[in-house]
């Protein structure tokens, strides 16, 4: 790693101030950023840790919506929302491995927007609102392509407001070495309709599958999507799978998610 300083502010205001320095970067749990720094793929002058800020911790439930603090770890989400939003707990409990889940944070995952990460799928499928130190951003506007979000420089994700669906399920086809999603599909059924978010598949990162949403809103069953086809255009091609293979998986995993939704 190149040399850098680390600050551990205890308030969002202090963190925002610290991030105004040139080449300063926010540090969540570090489970992606630290390996990146080790490879010298990033060279911040300063890291601003967000894990020592009480306002970024905690999960609140108002009955319809969960408000998850930005620095809440995957392990905490997995443990605390099992009864209120089981599909979210299930997703969080299958990210990485136990030690990674004890450090990795929801805001870190959402700010990084890895095209194969799990949290972008649940945020987009749930119609979440990403809350920052300056504004609230709808998930539909927040995710802007692979590793790209609506966040400005120095903007911090302070919380995620996650509407709780009537039924939901996440199906992840795991790439066995990395345990990232080769393809992951999150299906969420709300009173007003069904939302389907796909991760791992596209060069554009997480995205919704509009045709499946329309079909499932009309008839929430795996049969409803049987006649649909997924285009392989602009899907990821790598040594783990071709675009055509990923297109096939999108449909298969969507069907499984619908069948398993509860």
């Amino acid at each position: 790693m190149y040399a850098f300083d680390i600050e551990r502010p205890t308030s969002v205001a202090d963190a925002v101030a610290a991030l105004k320095d040139q080449d300063a970067q926010a540090l969540g749990g570090g489970q992606t950023l630290i390996p990146t720094l080790k490879q010298r793929l990033a060279a911040p002058s300063k890291l601003v840790s967000l894990t020592n800020i009480a306002d970024l911790q905690g999960i609140a439930n108002d009955g319809d919506t969960l408000r998850i603090g930005g620095a809440v770890t995957h392990a905490t989400v997995a443990a605390e929302v099992r009864l209120t939003y089981p599909a979210l707990a299930d997703l969080a409990s299958h990210i990485g491995d136990p030690a990674v889940r004890n450090r990795g944070t929801i805001s870190g995952s959402l700010a990084n927007n890895d095209p194969s990460a799990c949290y972008p799928a649940v945020a987009l499928a749930s119609g979440a609102t990403i809350i920052t130190n300056t504004r609230a951003i709808a998930a539909d506007d927040y995710f802007q392509g692979m590793f790209t979000t609506a966040l400005d420089d120095g903007e911090i994700v302070t919380a995620v407001s996650m509407p709780i669906p009537e039924k939901a399920n996440y199906q992840k086809f795991v790439q066995p070495a990395s345990r990232f999603a080769l393809v992951g599909v999150f299906v969420a059924k709300f009173a007003g309709g069904v939302r389907v978010a796909v991760t791992g598949a596209s060069n554009e990162g997480v995205h919704r599958w509009a045709e499946a949403e329309a079909a499932l809103t009309a008839d929430f069953s795996a049969v409803a999507i049987a006649g649909l086809t997924v285009s392989a255009d602009n899907l990821i091609a790598d040594l783990h799978g071709s675009p055509e293979y990923r297109a096939h998986l999108v449909k298969v995993m969507t069907g499984r998610a619908v069948a398993a939704a509860s």
Partner: protein
Amino acid sequence: MMTTVTMTVNGKSVSETVEGRTLLSTLLRDDLRLTGTHIGCDTSQCGACVVHVNGKAVKSCTMFAIEAQGAEVSTIEGQANADGSLNVIQQAFQDHHGLQCGFCTPGMVMTTASLLKENPKPTEAEVRTYLEGNICRCTGYHNIVKAIMAASGQDVSSIAAEQLIS
């Protein structure tokens, strides 16, 4: 910029002066000479460096020393019983041949301690799932799983590892 960090390691208060980029694993191994915490991959994959920070298993190669300011850290060196004898988990690894070269063992033992705290009587499948972040290149895991089942006080005669051996 050098910073002084203070934490408790295996019950003892320690202070060290570190750089921002100093990893917790580096502080433990190079500064405190607690070399039982192993660096297998340095890429967060292998789990040989797992320690407990405030009771939670973490990969010490993927956490900065400064982030452990004020924390309670436990390493493999703090796992034996007060009289120096092996604790239940360590003894089970020895009894059931849960190690060959031993390189991954510190992380395996620390991860096992974390598992059994959360889930005192795990199923074999739960053990295997929980070990996702700990890689062993010798044993094929069967005897590690068997050791963990034994450490949890469960009968190991019917688990896959036993069936394969007999």
